[in-house]
């Protein structure tokens, strides 16, 4: 497994998700801000691609994207709160 690539993809998901978390609140109170809307479209595209690639190579981070084969893998660890160590 390419750990470097995995870490890089995951970092990309973390960063772009946070941009969207913050933008979402800004847009809730500034729904017509064109600069924020453009930024949303741009970052959302990058995030979608990263999630797609990560899910394909390393498994789903969202239950709706579980690929069902011979067994149910969603509830297998590690869980996010366990940290890296």
């Amino acid at each position: 497994m390419d750990v470097m690539n995995r870490d890089k993809l995951f970092a990309c998901i973390m960063a772009t998700s946070f941009v969207l978390d913050d933008l979402r609140l800004f847009l809730d109170t500034h729904p017509r801000d064109q600069e924020a809307l453009d930024y949303w479209r741009k970052v959302e595209k990058v995030r979608n691609e990263a999630v797609k690639e990560y899910t394909k190579c390393y498994g789903p981070i969202n239950m709706y994207n579980v690929n069902v084969e011979d067994r149910w893998t969603w509830a297998e660890g590690p869980w996010p709160w366990e940290g890296r160590c």
Partner: protein
């Protein structure tokens, strides 16, 4: 509804246990200005929020608070996992340990159990938003207090992230309050409860 994503909003990777610090940070899980109270405050208030955009903001900030609760719990868990009985005694963790072992249970740093009386859901948009703004400031002050006690960089970074989010939420709630006021008579914003129809008819 909600759907779980297998990641934290901000990473937590702590390598050194510290039961003393865990007991302090635990307050932001189940204490009076903690993330559990914050999430339940906003998610309870949204049903009677007269402006749909502000109801959306309460939903989104309430959702983010649940992610913050998960970050705080991850910090406490990683600061206390695999403690030895000796470390429990040396770290002053024995009174928590005797009731909860190393499990996460919502309480304040002083041991007061979580209670819904930590927050209000008043059914009045101005009342609720002013409470929400105060809540964000109180949580920010608590993170300031925690940061003065932390030397470990691995703990410091996620706490700093959470502190900054309080400031952003305060700004957004301030904007929400202005949106509510824009719908009201600017000569008398506080005359009645804008979410209670009998008052509006007067």
């Amino acid at each position: 509804m909600w759907s779980y994503e297998k990641r934290l909003q901000y990473p937590v990777n702590i390598t050194q246990c510290n039961p003393k610090l865990a007991q302090v940070i635990m307050s932001q899980f189940g204490g009076p200005d903690g993330e559990l109270a914050a999430s339940q405050r906003y998610l309870s208030q949204r049903y009677t929020m007269s402006n749909p955009k502000v109801a959306g903001l309460l939903t989104d900030i309430g959702t983010e608070e649940m992610a913050h609760m998960e970050i705080v719990c991850a910090i406490v868990h990683q600061l206390t996992r695999d403690l030895t009985p000796q470390q429990i005694v040396d770290g002053g963790f024995e009174r928590y340990y005797v009731d909860h072992t190393l499990g996460l249970w919502p309480q304040s740093a002083g041991g007061v159990p979580f209670t819904s009386t930590f927050f209000q859901s008043k059914g009045d948009p101005i009342t609720d938003l002013v409470e929400d703004m105060a809540a964000e400031q109180k949580a920010r002050t608590t993170y300031d207090n925690i940061l003065r006690l932390v030397n470990d960089q691995e703990v410091c970074e996620p706490i700093k992230f959470l502190r900054v989010r309080e400031i952003v939420h305060f700004q957004r709630f301030g904007e929400a309050l202005r949106m509510i006021q824009d719908d009201l008579d600017c000569r008398n914003f506080y005359a009645f409860n804008p979410s209670f129809k009998c008052d509006l008819a007067k």
